[in-house]
Amino acid sequence: MSQKEIAGVTIDFDESGYLSKFEDWSKEIATALAKENGIDELTLKHWEVIEYIQKEVQNGAALSIRKIGKSGVVDIKEFYNLFPDGPLKKATLISGVPKPSGCV
C-alpha cells in the first residue's frame, strides 16, 4: 500500500496502483487518474461506463470485457476505443474499484 497525492488530496493506493478504498473516489480523482493513463477527457460515454462498473462491483459481480460488451452501455469495440491499451484495467482503475482478476 502506498499514499499518493492526486487531485489535491492524499489517498491510499494498493500495490497494483488501484484505490484502496472506494470511499476515497470522486469525479475529480477519476479525471486525474484518467489523465495519468492517457485519457485527456472523460466524455459522457466514459462516465456511463464508470457508473456501470461501480454499480456492478457494488452488487458483487465479477467484471469481464464480455460482460461489459453485453451491458447495453458500450459494445466491445467502443470500450477499447474509450479506454485504449487495456480497457478493463484502465476503466476499473478510473472507477475506483479493485483490479479485476479474470483472464477473459
Partner: protein, 164 residues
C-alpha cells in the same frame, strides 16, 4: 527472478490443433494480449482451422482417448475404454463447454468476435486452407485474410511468436 519492466508490445499466436483445449489456449492468449493493450495476431493452420470453419467452430471436441490428463468428474481415473464408446467424447466435450460458459468463457465464435472487436487480427493459413479445400465462405466472416507463412512472418515482425 524479477519481472522485467519492459512490456511485451506484440504477440502472434499460432493455433495448429483443433481440440477444444488447444483452440481455447490460443484464443485466451490472443484475447488476453489485447486486454493488456498488446498488439495481437492469431494464425490458424492445419486442424486449428476448425476453429474458424463455420460448420465446426462451435462443436470442437476434447480427446477422451490418448489424453492422459483425462479424469472423471471428481478426479477418479478415466478408463480409456470408456472414451471409445459412442457419444462419450461428445458428452465430455459438451460438459467442458458448459463448464467454460459458467466461467464466462465465450463459445469459440463469440470469442473470435471479441478478438476482432478488440482489434486483434485473425488469419487463416493458405497451405492448410488449400489442403482442406476450404472456401472463403466456409470460414469465419470476420477473418482478416488467408495468408502464406511468409506473410505471417511479415505480420509477426517485431513481436513474440507463440505456438500452441
Amino acid at each position: 527472478m524479477a519481472e522485467s519492466k519492459e512490456k511485451i508490445k506484440k504477440v502472434s499466436v499460432i493455433c495448429a490443433k483443433g481440440s477444444l483445449e488447444d483452440v481455447y489456449a490460443a484464443l485466451v492468449m490472443t484475447n488476453g494480449a489485447r486486454m493488456e493493450g498488446i498488439e495481437a495476431n492469431i494464425f490458424f493452420t492445419f486442424f486449428g482451422l476448425d476453429a474458424i470453419t463455420k460448420k465446426k467452430m462451435n462443436k470442437l471436441h476434447t480427446a477422451t482417448v490418448g489424453n492422459p490428463a483425462m479424469a472423471m468428474p471428481g478426479g477418479l481415473p478415466f478408463p480409456t475404454i470408456l472414451g471409445v464408446l459412442p457419444g462419450v467424447e461428445a458428452g465430455v466435450s459438451a460438459m467442458m463447454r458448459k463448464g467454460m460458459d459458467d466461467l464466462d468463457i465465450p463459445p469459440v465464435e463469440e470469442f473470435l468476435d471479441m478478438i476482432n472487436a478488440a482489434g486483434g487480427k485473425i488469419y487463416g493459413c493458405k497451405l492448410a486452407v488449400d489442403m482442406f479445400k476450404l472456401k472463403r465462405e466456409d470460414m469465419y466472416d470476420d477473418m482478416d485474410s488467408i495468408i502464406t507463412i511468409g506473410e505471417f512472418y511479415e505480420k509477426a515482425a517485431g513481436g513474440q511468436i507463440i505456438f500452441t
